[in-house]
Amino acid sequence: MAAQRRLTVPGRYPEIRKICEFVAASASEAGFDEDTVFHLELCCDEASTNIIEHAYGGEDVGAIDVTTIIDNATFTVTLQDSGRPFDPTAVPAPPDINNDLAAGLSTDELSQQLQVGGLGLHFIRNLMDEVYFTFDEDHGNTMVMVKYLQGKDV
């Protein structure tokens, strides 16, 4: 039996805290340890920030809809917005800092590259087990993040 919860907040930075709390509560209910709950919070924080920054291009443009589903083996978070299409493949991967520093990248250049972003997406790709993006005219951007429940093989 799947347990589903839903939260809709305005696309505004202070609201991201509510999304984190909501996801953390669902993740705790799913039985994740503290570290994993933190990872899930971090991923939802980064994904929501990207929605405001990239899909909406600013605050108070549209809403963020969050759904969590716990089933037998997985914990799924779905984030939806009605902003412009967000193509994650167009987001550059963050620089490989250690190598770039060795290659003489200045902190100036480094900071520039971090501003361009991709760091949040990099976190998500590293911390979640599955990530999907879709866009359609009716539902806007949908980002689905899946974490396997601990001790369950999928």
Binding site: Y13, P14, R17, T49, D96, D108, S111
Partner: protein, 115 residues
């Protein structure tokens, strides 16, 4: 005004600014955190120790503020060094590949003494 859930305590130690940060730094308050760090640089203090023992949560927005301060301080031949970063801070820095960017010390005294 965003409800801030981090605290910053700044101690002026002549050659070094010792900044104790605790709480949560996420997208909702990273801009405030960034402003506080920028104020330190504006006062011409470019040697900074950040004690991050009490930081329970930091997102990429918080990391960007740290890197921005590092960039500014390096321009002025200063540095940003970390004392006692919490497990969360160490993990997020490493996840971002930024762990080699900041020198890390076990406590504030040794970080301050390193300048």
């Amino acid at each position: 005004m965003t409800d801030s859930s981090f605290t910053v305590n700044i101690e002026d130690m002549k050659r070094v600014e010792l900044v104790e940060v605790s709480g949560r730094i996420d997208s909702s308050n990273a801009a405030q955190f960034d402003d506080i760090l920028k104020e330190i640089a504006k006062r011409g203090k470019y040697n900074v120790v950040l004690n991050m023992a009490g930081v329970e949560y930091i997102s990429s927005a918080g990391l960007r503020a740290l890197v921005a301060l590092l960039r500014e301080n390096k321009k002025h031949r200063g540095d940003v060094r970390l004392a006692q970063p919490s497990e969360r801070v160490v993990e997020v820095l490493s996840l971002a590949g930024l762990d080699s960017l900041f020198a890390v010390y076990n406590d504030s005294a040794s970080a301050v003494g390193s300048f």
